[in-house]
């Protein structure tokens, strides 16, 4: 089976949230409640244990906070459907102490719910803040990349429900090429701030859920330089080795000194 991926094209997204609904229905996830955030039309705020697709509403008004007319500039309103990135080098997968998190043959990072014991170490190992523990259930959950549907030869629920093909699903390599072509088309049309978000130059080594955005990824809560936390391990174990030596040495010296 070849590696599959998402390409979420925010220039095509109309913010209808069909992907959120389709995801919740197919995966039978809990509702999030009826809280109003007051932040544009985004009342979901972030992906979490019961929200695996999340539409972001990036509103750029000229003078936020001041009423009245917005003078010559019209507000820019961008939408983008966020999802687990299914990293090439996944922090959650590296950190999982039970082996519950595995890589599927089509490249998805999948949490096996019958193995996860709820230690929540994956939660602090995800540089994108995707994985979350369900406190009632006790286990960690995130997007499964519709592994069940993909195994049956179907596309993920969100991609199937997307009415504008903003969420594209396909083979990773061909989607990477498609993203470049789309970027060229947008630039030729004068959309100068279009960019592809796919951090291949970081320790994450690229993602299987790429994004085509306008402007800076930081307006979309996407980190410019995500890092897999295993990169810190070497420094940590070196310090632990020094600590072990210091403990043994200090105790030895103290007892030799205390004997006199």
């Amino acid at each position: 089976m070849s590696t599959t991926a998402f390409l979420t094209d925010s220039t095509l997204c109309i913010g209808c949230k069909a992907c959120e609904v389709a995801c919740k229905e197919w995966n039978q996830l809990d509702a999030d409640g009826y809280e109003w955030s007051g932040l544009s039309y985004d009342n979901t705020m972030a992906v979490g244990h019961s929200t695996w697709r999340h539409v972001k509403f990036v509103e750029n008004t000229p003078e936020i906070g001041l009423g009245g007319n917005a003078a010559e500039q019209l507000p820019a309103w961008g939408f983008s459907s966020d999802v687990c990135k299914h990293c090439e080098v996944a922090g959650c997968l590296e950190a999982c102490p039970t082996g519950a998190i595995v890589r599927m043959d089509f490249g998805a990072v999948y949490i096996q719910p019958d193995i996860c014991n709820g230690c929540a170490y994956c939660v602090v190992s995800c540089p994108f803040g995707v994985v979350e523990k369900n406190q009632d259930d006790g286990r960690a959950f995130k997007c499964t990349f519709c592994s069940d549907r993909q195994s049956a030869g179907l596309q993920p629920a969100c991609a199937k429900a997307c009415p504008t093909e903003s969420i594209k699903f396909g083979k990773l390599d061909s989607l990477r090429e498609e993203a470049q072509v789309r970027l060229e088309v947008l630039k030729s049309r004068g959309v100068d701030d279009a960019m592809i978000y796919d951090p291949v130059d970081t320790s994450v080594k690229g993602i299987h859920a790429m994004f085509l955005l306008r402007g800076d990824p930081r307006s979309y809560n996407l980190p410019p330089n995500p890092e897999v936390p295993t990169t810190y391990l070497k420094k940590g174990w070196q310090s632990a080795a020094v600590a072990a030596g210091a403990m043994l040495g200090a105790t030895l010296l103290a007892f030799l000194g205390g004997k006199r």
Binding site: A46, I64, G99, V124, P127, F128, A140, D216, G236, F255
Partner: protein, 363 residues
């Protein structure tokens, strides 16, 4: 028809400024035929923004660590138990203080058992603790920790019970060999127990934790040593010069660590200085560093055991507070969206606003 009294409405009191503004509007309208308004500032303004300068409305990018209070308590207990096993082994080799060896072994064994219990209780699915032992993953600090706790609690219990058996049933060579081998293995895994928790929280995406990963294992090891020494003193080894020396060196390291943290004034380390987490970390630092060091020096000079007992209690309290402080600082750090998004220094901190109320999940 009777007059209905008007309700008392809150009104504005006119002043010279308000009247000047009205005159200015009239003048502008008369001269230009149009008035440029200043606009109104709605309640709650300025609102959070989604821009490259502010991030996505200030919504946290990272998820908060979902650790129960059992975890910092485990860091505290496991750290002290590990250091205690080291003391037990060294005292067994070098000194002839049998009571100290016995007490140290029981602290190690009890702490090891308690550590396992706390870890199991922290799991979202405690019944699945054994799943930790179905893989051995060096790249996962949590996996290494699970194996270390399992090994340590077995070895420390074996050495303590072998010792007890010899006391009750008389000397026997095979049991002595088991006792000493277990004691050595408990010390070898004990040094990992005391320090690996620093690697565990350091090798994560939480900025304040990974920023300090090269000192956290040392910091936690010193804290564990400080606590083990103090517990042994309170259990009766009040005359051991070796323990006082060890306590002094651990406290001295904590003083150094405190100075390091206070002088590294970057934004990532803010939770170690500000807010509740800062207060707990600082209180923990003072109680495990300068206070016991001064008290131990006072004991060394005066020989008054009250100083030594006070130093012991202070170290234990400081050690516990330190672990709670660091876990708390991790939570505060995860809430700060500015660091993973690499926002400018002057990016505003987001105030308590409606969207944060919305983020609070019902308990």
């Amino acid at each position: 028809m009777s007059r209905v009294p008007l309700p008392e409405l809150p009104g504005r009191i006119p002043d010279s400024q308000s009247e000047r503004r009205l005159t200015a509007i009239r003048r502008e309208a008369a001269e230009k035929g149009t008035v440029s308004t200043q606009g109104i500032v709605p309640a709650g303004a300025p609102f959070p923004r989604a821009t490259p300068e502010t991030g996505y409305y200030g919504v946290p990018l990272l998820k908060e660590p979902q650790l129960k209070p059992e975890v910092p308590v485990y860091f505290f207990v496991g750290g002290a138990a590990g250091a205690s096993a080291v003391i037990a082994n060294m005292a067994n080799w070098i000194s002839n203080d049998r009571e100290l060896v016995r007490n140290a072994r029981w602290i190690a064994a009890g702490g090891g058992a308690l550590s396992s219990a706390l870890l199991i209780k922290d799991l979202g699915m405690p019944s699945r603790f054994l799943n930790m032992l179905r893989v051995f993953k060096p790249q996962s600090a949590m996996s290494m920790g699970a194996w270390t706790v399992s090994a340590f609690s077995s070895f420390s219990a074996a050495s303590a019970f072998a010792n007890l058996a010899q006391q009750k049933l008389g000397k026997s060579l095979p049991v002595t060999i088991i006792e000493n081998a277990a004691s050595l293995l408990a010390a070898a895994t004990g040094v990992v127990m005391s320090s690996y928790t620093g690697v565990l929280i350091g090798a994560t995406v939480i900025p304040v934790w990974n920023e300090n990963i090269s000192t956290l294992p040392l910091h936690f090891a010193a804290s564990g040593m400080n606590c083990a020494v103090s517990a042994l003193e309170l259990l009766g080894s009040e005359n051991s010069r070796a323990l006082n020396l060890l306590g002094m060196s651990a406290s001295a390291y904590e003083v150094y660590e405190g100075i390091e943290l206070e002088t590294k004034r970057n934004r990532v380390n803010e939770p170690l200085r500000k807010g509740w987490s800062g207060a707990i970390v600082r209180a923990g630092g003072v109680l495990s560093g300068p206070v016991p060091l001064a008290l131990r020096l006072a004991y060394a000079v005066s020989g008054n055991k009250k100083f030594r007992r006070a130093a012991a209690w202070s170290s234990i309290a400081g050690s516990l507070l330190t672990r709670f402080g660091w876990v708390h600082a991790g939570r505060a750090s995860a809430r700060d969206h500015r660091i993973p998004l690499e926002l400018l220094e002057e990016a505003p901190e987001v105030k308590k606003n409606s969207h944060q109320i919305a983020l609070q999940k019902p308990a």
